[in-house]
Symmetry: C2
Subunit: 139 residues, 2 copies
């Protein structure tokens, strides 16, 4: 799924959510939404836009990622304590994480087989289910 959103669509997406399409937000949104789905941390995204010559402070990257997450444009992945990953794929899916290389990719729930949760306490409902499959190279 290359080129999900064009620059115009990205601007439209931001204004639709009543966030001003500023230079910084556009630069970040382009990285997030114009190519294939991404997994980023504030740190990795900051490095990327810097490398492209854009000037965006790290604080703004943090704020923007949180902002986009609040708007539902990004998902959050609980992977390792210590850093927060954001995921441009907000559909229901699972993750595979290679602990040796740090690689992270999506797993289609269909590949994990049918999953149902029984035995939840009375009065509670499932809000969301996070599955992280940790893999290693076959030794």
């Amino acid at each position: 799924m290359m080129q999900r959103l064009s620059p115009e669509q990205i601007t439209a997406l931001l204004t639709a959510h009543t966030v001003r399409p500023t230079r910084q937000r556009l630069a970040l949104a382009m990285h997030l939404f114009s190519g294939p789905h991404r997994h980023v941390t504030a740190e990795t995204l900051h490095r990327e836009v810097q490398a492209e010559g854009h000037t965006v402070s790290l604080a703004t990257v943090y704020n923007t990622l949180n902002h986009f997450h609040t708007l539902g444009l990004l998902g959050e992945v609980s992977l390792t304590p210590g850093s927060t990953w954001f995921d441009t794929n907000t559909k229901h899916h699972f993750h595979a994480f290679h602990e040796e290389t740090g690689e992270l990719w999506d797993i289609d729930p269909a590949e994990v087989g049918p999953v149902a949760v029984a035995g939840l306490p009375e009065g509670m409902e499932l809000a969301r289910m996070d599955v992280v499959i940790r893999v290693r190279s076959k030794g």
Copy 2:
């Protein structure tokens, strides 16, 4: 599963892993291994032993939890970025997390139904699968 290990068994457990059963480690291990299964952070465990009158520094709690984890006596739960939870249940199981109350408890894999992972890339094998079921009170 109350009273899993007696004080003597805990001392034996530590010496078996060639860690000296010092006053601090015994106090921490008692909290972790003498009652039912626990989920703790360095912070919560530190508060507990302090409340009991033991003097253990927070740094030692961190070091000891990491040490026990390395020895395989504790599992680690990836829940929320920002704090690390340790789990005295090291058997294969899943977690349910109540995002509103912060409650965390174990889920028997049997209650989640059969799970199998297909479609892993060539040359990789499953190392471990973490499932976090997030629940909320029925609205």
